[in-house]
């Protein structure tokens, strides 16, 4: 039984081999983009709005509200990155119930890619908000000797982000596989529901931690 979608080669485009991770990522991207494009093509600004627009507005409002709570300032500069991060991970995890689907988040390559994106997003937003010098200076706070610890902290939290998400989703997929082979009825269903809950929680954790890291970067020390 193959549990790493990176090793599942589906097809090739010339010399490039497309594995399940990339393929299902594209599927999720296509779904998210298509769904958004279709719904937002006819947005209403009146008092009455369509049901799907309401769903999208609830999601966007929730994301911006969470970011505002954590960062404590205008959330809109961070919504595209953090919102995409949260929605992508959530949809990847929730689609686990679809037969033959392999969640890209069960691949360390994907979770590492996401964690590295957060790793680079943190200084990017910090520099955008406070300037390069202020951001660099923050690594020497409260003293010069704190620089290595700051660097270790940055790297370790990036690794922890990647491994936490990968571990949870991969283990859950593995457990469902094991249960399916041992007890084919009823128990896998319970595990699927349990897996959905884990998927939602992990998406929320990843999103919240990324928000906290970016929030700590954009906030001036002592603010």
């Amino acid at each position: 039984m193959e549990i790493n979608p990176d090793n599942m080669q589906l097809f090739g485009i010339g010399a490039i081999k497309i594995n399940a991770t990339i393929f299902y990522t594209w599927i999720v991207m296509a779904l998210l983009t298509g769904f958004s494009a279709v719904i937002t093509s006819r947005l209403s600004t009146g008092a009455k709005i369509p049901r799907w627009q309401g769903v999208l507005e609830v999601i966007v409002s929730f994301v911006s509200g969470q970011i505002r709570q954590v960062i404590g300032r205008d959330p809109w500069p961070y919504v595209p990155f953090l919102g995409t991060l949260g929605i992508f991970i959530l949809v990847c995890n929730l689609m686990e119930v679809v037969p033959l689907y392999h969640p890209p988040t069960s691949s360390l390559s994907t979770t590492a890619a996401l964690a590295v994106s957060v790793f680079f997003a943190v200084p990017f937003f910090g520099i955008m908000k406070n300037g390069l010098w202020a951001h660099i200076k923050s690594y020497f706070q409260p003293s010069f000797f704190m620089l290595p610890f700051h660097i270790i902290s940055e790297v370790s939290r990036t690794v922890s982000l990647a491994v936490r998400l990968f571990g949870n989703i991969m283990s859950e997929s593995l457990m469902i596989g094991v249960f399916l082979s041992v007890v084919p009825l009823f128990v896998p269903l319970v595990m699927q529901v349990f897996g959905l809950v884990i998927g939602v929680v992990q998406a929320y954790i990843f999103f919240t931690l990324a928000t906290v890291y970016i929030g700590s970067s954009v906030s001036i020390h002592g603010e």
């Binding site: 790493n4 990176d6 090793n7 594995n19 991770t21 990339i22 990522t25 594209w26 991207m29 998210l32 983009t33 958004s36 494009a37 937002t40 947005l43 209403s44 600004t45 009146g46 709005i49 627009q53 999208l56 507005e57 966007v60 409002s61 809109w76 919504v79 595209p80 990155f81 919102g83 995409t84 991060l85 929605i87 992508f88 890209p104 691949s107 360390l108 390559s109 994907t110 590492a112 890619a113 996401l114 590295v116 994106s117 990968f166």
Partner: protein, 260 residues
Amino acid sequence: MEFDLFTFIAQVINFTVLIALLNKFLFGRVKAAMDERERKIADDLEKAVIQRQEAEKSAALAAEELKLLESRRQEMLEDARNKAREEEAQMKAAAQTAAEERQKKWQQAFSMEQENYIKALKLHSGKFAWKVSEKMLRELSDEKINNKAAEIFLKKLEALGGAQTAEFKAAVNRSEKPVVVLSPFVIDDILKDKISGVIVKMTESKNKVLFERSESIGFGIQAAVEGYKISWGGSEYFSGMEKEVIDVFKDGNKKGGYDG
């Protein structure tokens, strides 16, 4: 726990592309729609505030207008009351005037009635007294009282003062009509001639003297020309009685002063 560098790079690119796509198709558009709706709501709220302020202004204006109307109403009521008072006073005055007018008319009518009554009383009393006197005189002497009356009138004519004679003369000379001697009885021819003679002598005119009978003069004799009259009769005696009767009419408790 395998790590595939190619997949990692591809996923970084995929995620970056997904950020761009969702920013374009989801977050940007939804934010724009939400901002637009928020702006509309804010505008509506602003409009509502403005409308509320306008409504409050209108309410204040209406209240002020109501106050003004109320004051006008009070003024109108006061005016109406004043007019009513004036009209009432006018009506009262008119009624009083009408009442006074009626009273006056009634008094006039009463006076006329009284006058007529007294006239009639005088006439009848005179006649009655005349008849009684005539009867008594006839019984007392052989002379007729009518002739006696004519003689007394003749004496009165002869005894007229200078001023009266001049007025009578002027009246006779102004008129082309004859002097009319009125009496309620037939005067003896001899006396007629005497009276005519005296009148002609007095007036020095050639106007005729006519003798006519008239019951309207009551009791006595009267020579009249151009509104000028010389008369003798019971009316002179009865004028005292007339006064007494009027006094009795005015004051019912008054006793007549003609007892003796």
